[in-house]
């Protein structure tokens, strides 16, 4: 794989690709890390609202210098703003939004994704405890879950697997995976390789993916300028 590393997408490029899937009118929850880079890349003609589980519906970007309010933060605890038409709700109502079918998409980081869509993202296997936060509620409740991660771990092992070795976050929820190598959909027929990064080929991706990929119609990831 070493000779191909230069073809891997950067974290920003993964976020930019995921941003293209955010549809007009959607309400989206962003996990910490890579997902928080998505908003900057959403096509300007689309109206996408962001839900932050600490009760903020209509989260905007970071505040301009001197315009921050200490009481307005994201779930990642960064100072943020609110867009016009935003609303504040309490925590139980905020999770009612998440579990109640009104969250169109959750973009979450992942340690492992299983072929059936099982998501593992809250705890390492060797940790006796983890910081679950809202991950399990949001993953279980969102209409769609997009997993965002590097395709392999630091030792080159596949993170898209047929059997999980990490603690489970939610059963069968992931609908699409965005990695530094590929875009993969989870369908009733199995995992479908939709797109690969420029310079890679299908077999490169399958070689580091434990689960079998359907590769009938594979495009190339368009890299944002």
């Amino acid at each position: 794989m070493n000779e191909q590393n230069t073809n891997l997408l950067t974290r920003l490029q993964i976020a930019a690709r995921a941003a293209q899937d955010m549809e007009d009118g959607w309400l989206v929850n962003l996990g910490i890390g890579m997902p928080t880079m998505i908003p900057a890349y959403i096509p300007k003609d689309r109206d996408v609202m962001f839900h932050s589980e600490n009760g903020l519906i209509g989260m905007g970007p970071q505040p301009a210098e001197g315009e921050a309010d200490q009481d307005l933060i994201s779930a990642g605890k960064e100072l943020v703003t609110m867009v016009p038409g935003g609303a504040i709700v309490h925590h139980a109502d905020s999770f009612a939004v998440a579990r109640g079918g009104r969250l169109d998409c959750a973009c979450l980081g992942a340690f492992q994704v299983v072929a059936n869509g099982d998501l593992c993202n809250w705890r390492l296997p060797n940790q006796k405890s983890g910081s679950v936060g809202g991950a399990m509620d949001i993953a279980a409740g969102s209409k769609r879950v997009f997993a965002m991660m590097t395709h392999t771990d630091r030792d080159g092992r596949a993170k898209i697997v047929t059997e999980r070795t990490f603690p489970l976050t939610a059963i069968g929820v992931v609908t699409r995976i965005f990695t530094d190598m590929a875009v993969i959909s989870i369908t009733a027929d199995g995992m479908v390789l939709d797109e690969i990064a420029p310079g890679l080929n299908k077999d490169d991706v399958q070689a580091v993916t434990d689960a079998p990929l359907i590769m009938d119609n594979v495009g190339e990831i368009a890299i944002a300028a």
């Binding site: 839900h51 609110m82 016009p84 609303a87 139980a92 009612a96 109640g100």
Partner: protein, 231 residues
């Protein structure tokens, strides 16, 4: 940004089909979306399941919907009021089914539906007729009735003000069931007295965030409980 406003009443309610389950706001007359109900009457839908607190008053609102034969089943807490004579007549004639739910359980079942929960344990109705057939669960040394969540295909609600995103405020006791019903339907339709610009509602005072509202229709203020026959 998409504006959720429906230009006509038919645009607002037109996608409701025969056999739908509809949550309808209101307690007594305040908060009943009479204009939206008139719209459903005008569509002539049949076999609707209506979830609402009362069985209608006089000939308007829910009573009109019942009188025009649109309702196959009513789920409510308070069916037998003098003013609900239209319902009584159809019920006695065997033309409408009835499920009685304690009022707090009814609002909580709807909230549970809106919150993506499957049900909840309540002390209400334990040992009574209205718990018959429902699972009894022991927890923390007490017995509780397990009540199921309740959702609608549609919710028809009445609010006071909206902005283009459907963020809603309410007026006095016309609030009642409306905010929880707004949460608990696949498609939520609000009638509102007034619509305002996008930045006119303080985000802190919005009761129903617009993410729960699919479309709204502006009615202006009107006197509640007046008969408004087929428009």
């Amino acid at each position: 940004m998409k504006n959720k406003k429906s230009a006509t009443l038919e645009d607002a309610v037109g996608r409701i089909q025969d056999g739908a389950t509809i949550l309808v706001g209101g307690f007594g007359q305040p908060g009943v979306p009479e204009v939206l109900i008139d719209g459903v009457c005008d569509l002539g839908r049949r076999d609707l399941t209506i979830v609402t607190n009362n069985a209608g008053t006089g000939h308007s609102g829910i009573a009109r919907l019942i009188e025009e034969g649109c309702v196959g089943k009513l789920i409510c807490s308070f069916p037998w009021a003098k003013e609900s004579f239209v319902f009584k007549e159809l019920y006695d004639a065997g033309k409408i089914d009835l499920e009685i739910v304690p009022q707090g359980t009814l609002s909580e079942r709807i909230r549970a539906g809106g919150a993506g929960l499957g049900g909840f344990l309540t002390p209400t109705a334990l040992g009574t007729d209205l718990a018959e057939g429902k699972p009894i669960i022991e927890s923390d040394g007490r017995e509780w009735v397990l009540e199921k969540a309740l959702r609608g295909d549609f919710a028809l609600i009445k609010a006071y003000k909206t902005d283009p995103r459907g963020n809603l405020t309410y007026h006095l006791t016309a609030r009642n069931f409306n905010p929880v019903m707004a949460m608990a339907a696949d498609f939520t339709i609000a009638e509102v007295q007034e619509d305002v610009a996008i930045d006119e509602l303080d985000p802190e005072v919005i009761v129903t965030p617009g993410v729960f509202v699919d479309t709204y229709f502006v009615t202006g203020w009107y006197e509640i409980g007046k008969e408004r026959k087929a428009s």
